[in-house]
Amino acid sequence: MTAIAPPLGQPSAPRTYVIDPEWVRSFRRAIPALAKKSDSQGDREIPLTFPFVLQPNPIPGLRMPDSGLVHGTQRFRYVSPLRIGETVTVVAEVSGYKERGGTAFVTLTTRAIHADGTDAFEAESLLLYPAGDEASSQVTPDP
């Protein structure tokens, strides 16, 4: 099968989120605690992996299969912390693509900016799927 190479560098439409306190709280509660910590500490913190739920809008021209998609690696670079109640905007692009042994490797980079235009974080996901399967559907990656 012939793989459809995704468009490198083509940005998604910006997507804006308000960091809702209840959303953060339910996310935090869904993560089993490993250590006892003070309640105040727990309430201030936005979990390190919370940025992943701020999924971007679809990237024009990016086609990936619904099933058979594997999350290979995940990287976060935290520039300045997200704050409860603030508005952030996320934009994603395909920053890398290669095929090897019938497998497609797509790197998606998502950048989040605060309302004042400064960087909040950058997230990079490596997703793998059988090359050629992307024709079946057009989706944003499943987290």
């Binding site: 089993p32 605690a33 250590a35 006892k36 992943f52 990287r75 670079r77 935290y78």
Partner: protein
């Protein structure tokens, strides 16, 4: 800490341990005390709801098998979240995480005892680099490996 809501029947299946930083100064490659967790199906459902990741391979056995898996598997990002929790003692110590990356090497099944462990790779007054891993009981290799870089501005 998670408070059980009234009427909530889900049993939290987590073995809680208290993590402690080893005494300072640390030498290179200090092994940290592991934490142990068993994630059960309700934990996965709770995470699906909170994260919006409703991929059926995390709750529907048939869908998981159709995808070539032996059964339902834990969300990769929930595994990463456990590693993030493991960094908690440093964050409480005034460090902020600047970079955090993981590699998902094999699927993690619910109901399996997981050991979450870390190794201090390097440490200065204001910077620490920690290698992290999750290993399922009985597995020959880590299912998830990663690394975090933490900094603080004003060392104690």
């Amino acid at each position: 800490m998670v408070k059980q809501r009234k009427g909530e029947s889900w049993r939290r299946s987590v073995t809680r341990t208290t993590l402690k930083r080893p005494a300072i100064p640390m030498k290179k490659r200090t092994f940290l005390e592991p934490a142990y967790v068993i994630l059960e199906q309700p934990d996965l459902i709770r995470y699906a709801a909170a994260s919006g990741d409703y991929n059926p391979i995390h709750y529907d056995r048939e869908a998981a098998r159709a995808a070539g898996l032996p059964g339902v598997v834990v969300h990769g990002m929930l595994n990463m979240a456990l590693l993030a929790e493991y960094l908690g003692p440093w964050v409480e110590d005034g460090y902020r995480v600047e970079e955090f990356h993981v590699r998902f090497r094999s699927f993690v099944r619910p109901g399996t005892k997981l050991a979450i462990a870390g190794t201090v790779q390097s440490e200065t007054d204001d910077e620490v680099k920690i290698a992290l891993q999750i290993t399922a009981e009985g597995a020959p290799h880590a299912a998830v490996t990663g690394e975090a870089l933490l900094r603080r501005d004003h060392p104690e």
